[in-house]
């Protein structure tokens, strides 16, 4: 046990040191075999399965008092679950938290990778619902483990091929499977395929925690991550005809916002920190009006 106990008398970052050691062992193994799913004895956390218990356990195992934590859900720091997880660590670990991607040493995320490039001194922790990329092709764990062991990924290629045969393109837009280090097919968690290229050769360490399924996997810095495709049907990311209504960005993942019940819409960066930063630097989108946007004004 560390000496550091929070006011609530829980151990630093909630988990006991033995559990953290168990998770760290799984993490080390995961880093040593990029893309391989390491079973770990996931604990029941004080939030429900499906709310990010895997990511929370990984964060709890790697966080230190000197860390600065950022938590995003769907790209935003202000979605309710991101707020809840950030408060959990602010309370149990007493670490400083931030909205700024650049200021964070540890970022826990659900369904997005920040737009800003991450650095070597940062760690990105993903919350993962279904870690097995082959699960929807083969529901049995005993079978999928064998398929990974034998590098038998034909089924996945057949699925992608069938998509092309039927629709003319691959009909997967998020949780788009990747090949890691030329060896393991991996589920990138339900990030949009827009974010897949950011995983490749990333300077930051990427850790993945699936609490309910009790699996951990990892991408060490500068790992080769290739989205599955075919020579004649190369992988492409989503593109929008619109730009961000607030900051005018034309190269970010945009969320569609419904403005009324007669079909008026606008598009806004899903990465709220990136959008705010651009606006602070004077960038304006078409729907931003005259008043400069500040989170405080919006509150």
């Amino acid at each position: 046990m560390t000496e550091q106990q929070t006011a609530d008398s829980y151990n630093f970052a909630y988990l006991d040191e033995q559990t953290k050691r168990m998770i760290r062992r799984a993490l080390l193994k995961a880093v040593a075999i990029p893309g391989y799913q390491v079973p770990f004895a996931g604990r029941e956390m004080p939030m429900p399965y499906g709310w990010g218990t895997g990511g929370v356990q990984v964060t709890a195992a790697v966080i230190g008092p000197e860390d600065t934590l950022k938590v995003i859900d769907q790209g935003s720091d202000d979605t309710t679950n991101a707020v809840s997880i950030r408060n959990f660590f602010a309370k149990t670990a007493g670490v400083p938290t931030t909205d700024k991607t650049a200021e964070a040493t540890l970022i826990q995320t659900r369904h997005r990778i920040p737009e800003k490039d991450l650095r070597e001194d940062q760690i990105l922790v993903y919350q993962v619902p279904i870690p097995e990329p082959l699960r929807f092709l083969e529901p049995r764990e005993t079978e999928t483990r064998k398929m990974h062991a034998l590098e038998e990924y034909g089924l996945m290629h057949v699925k992608l091929y069938e998509d092309i045969a039927r629709h003319g393109h691959i009909a997967t837009t998020y949780a788009y499977p990747v090949l890691v280090n030329d060896r393991y097919v991996m589920d990138p968690s339900p990030i949009p395929k827009f974010d897949n290229p950011k995983m490749n050769d990333m300077a930051a360490l990427q850790l993945f925690g699936a609490g309910r399924e009790k699996r951990i996997y990892a991408l060490p810095p500068y790992t080769k991550v290739k989205s599955l495709d075919f020579e004649d049907h190369p992988f492409v990311i989503q593109k929008w005809d619109d730009i961000c209504g607030m900051c005018g960005a034309d190269n970010t993942f945009l969320d569609e916002v419904i403005l009324d019940d007669v079909g008026s819409r606008m598009f806004v960066c899903s990465d709220s920190d990136h959008c705010n930063e651009r606006q602070a630097a004077g960038h304006r989108g078409p729907q931003n009006g005259d008043a400069s946007y500040t989170p405080e004004a919006a509150e």
Binding site: A41, P48, Y49, G75, E141, P190, I191, P295
Partner: protein, 369 residues
């Protein structure tokens, strides 16, 4: 005008306040006491302790109160608390043959050594609403003491009675039992194929409704194994711990449990002769529905051991064990109410694109015709 989503923190805080108010209900009505729940909702307490896999009536009662009577939420509270507790050891196996019996029945014999002891059961009540309870008009309840004491020798039906004839499947003690400790699925990840110790743990923690339905499915022909209740016993057993520094067992307290052993007709397979096979169920407190269903499912899952063909969900280890835990299930089922707009945005783009392509194709076809 679009306003960025902000203020989640305050919204959460207010939601929690409102939840507390709803939990309390009309404040002119007296507040429930934990002891009242413990004493008067004892079967809810049993279930929460079993599926929460923590034997503590007071905490279970607290969890039920805090969860507004939602038992799965209460089970979740127990689990989340349990996982923070240190382990100071594993108990010696409990001896259910030495149980202080409150109830013991067998469906396979009319009478048997030790007798049929009905105990507290709903079995023969007529399900008529008792309006005296509604009026809180219950008079003092007294029960008569029996003329004869319960037989101290209360043999277990399957092990002590049926075994004489050699007709029942023997429960083999593993040769290396001393070395091979019983698995603990709260400390190790569940891996397949699982052994029976892990399977039974999983079923004991598993959702009562799920186990009930699976057990029921075996009776309706999905892996039928025609079962009878060999014995149900409910009562108190001592829990013993053997501290390393002492080297002998010390009694650390009594727990109430319900135990069920089923006997199943078995016509034999390539690898096993015709015999009666068995299924086992155990819960904390009193819960006969769960133990009987659990014993049915346990038996169904022994298919490999008995060389049976796997034809039904209840026999399918991965299917049963992966989906029995109601805390995992409720979490994942309910999580789809969390924001998914990034994924949905991606789907929107895709569906629009696919519709556009279909329309274009149709238009091209029509133009060609």
């Amino acid at each position: 005008m679009y306003v960025a989503v902000k203020g989640g923190e305050r919204a959460i805080e207010n939601a929690h306040k409102l939840l507390a108010e709803y939990r309390r209900g009309d404040q002119n009505v007296p507040e429930l006491d934990i002891r009242q729940i413990e004493e008067q909702m004892s079967l809810a307490v049993s279930r929460v302790m079993t599926e929460g896999s923590l034997y503590d009536k007071e905490l279970a009662a607290l969890a039920i109160k805090q969860a507004r009577g939602d038992l799965i939420e209460a089970i979740f509270l127990m689990r989340a608390y349990r996982t923070t507790l240190p382990r100071f050891g594993y108990s010696a196996p409990i001896e259910t043959s030495k149980m202080q019996i409150s109830r013991r029945i067998s469906a396979t014999y009319k009478d048997l050594p030790g007798g049929q002891v009905l105990g507290p059961t709903f079995d023969y009540t007529h399900r008529l609403l008792d309006f005296t309870l509604a009026a809180n008009g219950e008079s003092e309840i007294t029960t008569d003491e029996a003329d004869t004491r319960l037989d101290q020798n209360m043999p277990r039906v399957l092990d002590d009675l049926l075994r004489h004839e050699g007709l029942i499947q023997p429960e083999e003690r593993p040769e290396n039992e001393e070395l091979e400790t019983v698995g603990d699925l709260t400390r190790e990840p569940l891996e397949y194929p699982a052994n029976r110790d892990i399977r039974l743990q999983n079923l004991a923690r598993g959702d009562e409704g799920f186990i009930l339905s699976l057990g029921y499915s075996t009776q309706r022909g999905y892996a039928r194994n025609h079962a009878f209740v060999g014995e149900i016993r409910y009562g108190e057993v001592a829990v013993e711990l053997i501290p390393e520094e002492l080297g002998f067992a010390i009694d650390i307290g009594d727990i109430e449990i319900t135990e069920c052993e089923n006997v199943n007709q078995f016509k034999g397979s390539k690898s096993a002769p015709p015999q009666f096979t068995r299924g086992y169920g155990l819960t904390f407190g009193q819960n006969e529905r769960k133990v009987i269903a659990m014993a049915l499912v346990d038996r169904a899952l022994r298919d490999k051991e008995l060389g049976e063909e796997i034809i039904a969900p209840a026999q399918d280890e991965e299917f049963v064990l992966s989906h029995s835990d109601n805390i995992e299930a409720t979490g994942f089922v309910e999580h789809i109410k969390l924001p998914h707009y990034v994924d949905f945005q991606s789907e929107l783009e895709l569906v629009r694109k696919m519709r556009r392509e279909t329309t274009e194709k149709q238009a091209a076809q029509q133009a060609a015709e």
